[in-house]
């Protein structure tokens, strides 16, 4: 039996203000194996972004723990990479320099960095834009840079925080299909994907498993396995059957 890649163990998060406790997340518990594509879905304000930040190590839980490959998670773990909702690109760095950022942090030499960055800039369809600055790019292109930057460190786990919510529907759909392709390709990272979204449709389209959170405090309502074959068709009754079921669990 394979040890799980990621273990979220009874993670609880509270904020304290004026002596009062505001519980944001309550006893979240789930696991991820190496080939999983999991979406965490829930209404706005249910704490799902906070949960993702705790999982990648940017914030500590109030209680409980997150284990990656058996050890407590650290923010700079090179096997875990994050794609941000706001893109988080450095405006004074070119596309290439942004994509190379994680590699540079790992002390990889410039020649090796360029080669690897180039590979992923091509993989996300930004060939030709290597020397462009983020201000010259559209939203969809910026997120592609964010994606390339995350993939360039060749992580086992890719974490995404509502990555497509700032994009128009067409661009978002293109990127969803690209993520699926990259994930399905055994020669390319990532091996596992954990994505947070408020779109139930997006979750059903992408994920093997959907974790449903409800709000204030965020707690797990259900963990569902979506057994639809890919590519998934939104117009099929099974598809919107799943959407209805998840929707009814949240409401």
């Amino acid at each position: 039996m394979e040890a799980p890649l990621l273990e979220v163990k009874d993670v609880t998060k509270s904020y304290f203000e004026n002596g009062k406790e505001f519980k944001v997340l309550d006893l979240i518990r789930f696991e991820l194996a190496e080939r999983d594509f999991v979406c965490v879905v829930g209404p706005s304000g249910c704490g799902k972004s906070t949960l993702l930040r705790i999982i990648v190590g940017l914030e500590p839980p109030t209680s409980g723990q997150v284990l990656f490959e058996g050890s407590p998670i650290r923010a700079d773990n090179p096997q875990v990479a994050m794609v941000f909702q706001s893109f988080a690109l450095f405006p004074w760095l070119t596309v290439t320099q942004n994509v190379e950022l994680g590699l540079e942090a790992q002390g990889i030499s410039p020649e090796d960095r360029h080669g690897r960055a180039r590979k992923f800039i091509d993989a996300v369809g930004l060939t030709g834009f290597e020397n462009a600055f983020p201000r010259e790019l559209s939203g969809g292109m910026k997120q592609r840079v964010g994606l390339a930057r995350a993939l360039a460190i060749e992580p086992l786990l890719l974490c995404m925080d509502e990555p497509f919510s700032s994009l128009d529907p067409l661009t978002a759909q293109n990127l969803r299909d690209e993520i699926l392709q990259l994930w399905a390709n055994p020669d390319l990272p990532p091996k596992a994907v954990l994505m947070v979204t408020h779109s139930i449709e997006e979750a059903v389209y992408l994920a093997d498993r959907v974790i449903v959170l409800s709000s204030r405090p965020g707690h797990m309502v259900a963990e569902l396995e979506i057994d639809l074959p890919r590519p998934r068709n939104r117009k099929e009754p099974e598809f919107y059957g799943w959407i209805d079921e998840i929707y009814s669990l949240i409401v």
């Binding site: 940017l58 923010a75 700079d76 405006p91 950022l101 994680g102 540079e104 942090a105």
Partner: protein, 133 residues
């Protein structure tokens, strides 16, 4: 002068958006690479406004310092302030030409600095180093 610079720099560092900080942290960027790719570029706009403010204040202080009597007899420093002082007060009659000349020189210097140094630097900083929130 250095205080204007310092306070602006502190404000600049504080102004680094949270998501950029988190991105840097999550990719493990630290030490020299962090300074080079995050901290220093983020400080460029504040460095510039701090420099402009500091330069302006220094310029004022310099001219005034040439004017205010310090020791008796005052040490001799040749500068615009000194010339203006002499032209206005020391001679029996105010030397209007010299007053005009020194003031014009000050204006020309300030305008030239603005146009040739501060404006181009500011434009570049506003484009390359501005962080969109």
């Amino acid at each position: 002068m250095q205080w204007y610079l310092l306070f602006n720099l502190i404000a600049g560092v504080r102004g680094i958006p949270e998501d950029l900080e988190e991105a840097a942290r999550s990719f493990g960027l630290r030490g020299r690479a962090y300074w080079r790719r995050v901290l220093l570029p983020a400080m460029v706009p504040s460095l510039l406004t701090g420099s402009i403010t500091a330069w302006g204040a220094g310029w004022n202080a310099l001219i005034v310092s040439e004017y205010i009597p310090f020791l008796s007899p005052p040490p001799h420093v040749s500068g615009l302030g000194y010339l203006l002082d002499i032209a206005t007060f020391r001679k029996p009659l105010p030397d209007n030409e010299m007053i005009l000349l020194t003031i014009l020189t000050m204006i020309v210097i300030v305008l030239a600095m603005n146009k040739l140094l501060w404006r181009p630097l500011y434009k570049r900083a506003a484009v390359k180093y501005r962080v969109e929130v």
